[in-house]
C-alpha cells in the first residue's frame, strides 16, 4: 500500500474472524460515503478476499496472520488483504458461471470480488505471501 494505511486490522487465520473483517469493511464504506448498496457490495468483496486469505492463503494456520488495510485517497477507497501463505493461482481460476462449473461448490469468491469493486489486482511475493488490492472508485 503506497503511503500509510489509514486503518489496519491484523487477525489470526481463523474463519471466525472473517465476520470481524467484514464489519470493518462495512464501516469503511460508510466513512467513505458509499451508498448503501455499493457499501454492501464493497464489504462483500473484502469478505471474499479475507476468506481466501484465511482458507486458501494461510490454510487456516493459526500461526499465520491476515492483514487488512484501508486507505482513502485520490477519490478511491483502497483495501489491501495480505496473507502469509504460499500463493493462490488467481489466473487459473475457472469461470463459475459456465455451465460446466455451475455445480461446483466453490470457486465463486473471485467472481464476487471482481463484480463488486472497480479493480482487483494480486501479487504473490515469494516467502512473504499474497497481496490482493481492491479499489472502489468514489463518486465526486
Amino acid at each position: 500500500m503506497s503511503g500509510k494505511p489509514q486503518v489496519q486490522v491484523v487477525v489470526g487465520s481463523r474463519v471466525e474472524y472473517v465476520d470481524a473483517l467484514h464489519a470493518v469493511a462495512e464501516e469503511m464504506a460508510k466513512l467513505a460515503g458509499l451508498p448503501e448498496d455499493e457499501g454492501f457490495h464493497f464489504a462483500l468483496a473484502i469478505r471474499e478476499a479475507a476468506t481466501n486469505a484465511v482458507t486458501h492463503g494461510n490454510g487456516q494456520d493459526p500461526d499465520k496472520q491476515v492483514t487488512l488495510s484501508f486507505a482513502l485517497s485520490g477519490g478511491s477507497l483502497l483495501a489491501v488483504v495480505c496473507d502469509q501463505g504460499e500463493g493462490f493461482n488467481f489466473k487459473g481460476a475457472a469461470d463459475p458461471r459456465l455451465p460446466e462449473n455451475r455445480f461446483k461448490t466453490s470457486g465463486r469468491g473471485l467472481l464476487l470480488m471482481r463484480s463488486f469493486v472497480d479493480e482487483v489486482t494480486y501479487q504473490h511475493l515469494p516467502g512473504q505471501g499474497t497481496e490482493v488490492r481492491l479499489v472502489k472508485r468514489l463518486a465526486n
Partner: protein
C-alpha cells in the same frame, strides 16, 4: 442463522433467518438439509425471505444441497430470496439452476401430489 421447519404433505419448508456465510450459516444449512434427507424427507423448500445475504461459501452450500437432493432423487427449491440474495444467484447464473418462487402456495403446488 436460525432455522425452523414446517411440513405440508411431503414438502418440508425450511425457514432460514440470518446470513448464510462461511463458518456458521453454511454449516447450519448443510446439517439441516442433511438431517432432513437422513430422516427420509425428499421435497424441500428453502424459504430465504429472512436471509439478509450470502457469501461465496453460502452460495456453494446451496449448490451442495441441490446436488445432495439430486443424488437422493429428491427436490430442493427456493422461496422468496431477498433482492440481495437473488442478485447473487443471478450473478453466479444459479438462477438458471434453482427453481425459485415468490409465492409459497405456488411453490408447494409445484412439488405435485
Amino acid at each position: 442463522m436460525k432455522v425452523t421447519q414446517r411440513s405440508y404433505g411431503d414438502v418440508t419448508v425450511v425457514d432460514l433467518k440470518g446470513k448464510i456465510t462461511i463458518g456458521r450459516g453454511d454449516v447450519i444449512l448443510r446439517e439441516t438439509v442433511q438431517q432432513l434427507f437422513d430422516e427420509g424427507h425428499r421435497q424441500i423448500l428453502l424459504n430465504l425471505a429472512g436471509v439478509s445475504y450470502m457469501d461465496s461459501a453460502g452460495i456453494g452450500e446451496l449448490v451442495a444441497c441441490h446436488k445432495r437432493a439430486v443424488e437422493k432423487t429428491g427436490r430442493l427449491k427456493l422461496l422468496n430470496p431477498s433482492g440481495k440474495v437473488y442478485d447473487l444467484l443471478q450473478l453466479t447464473k444459479l438462477d438458471e439452476v434453482f427453481e425459485t418462487f415468490t409465492d409459497e402456495k405456488t411453490a408447494l403446488v409445484s412439488f405435485g401430489g
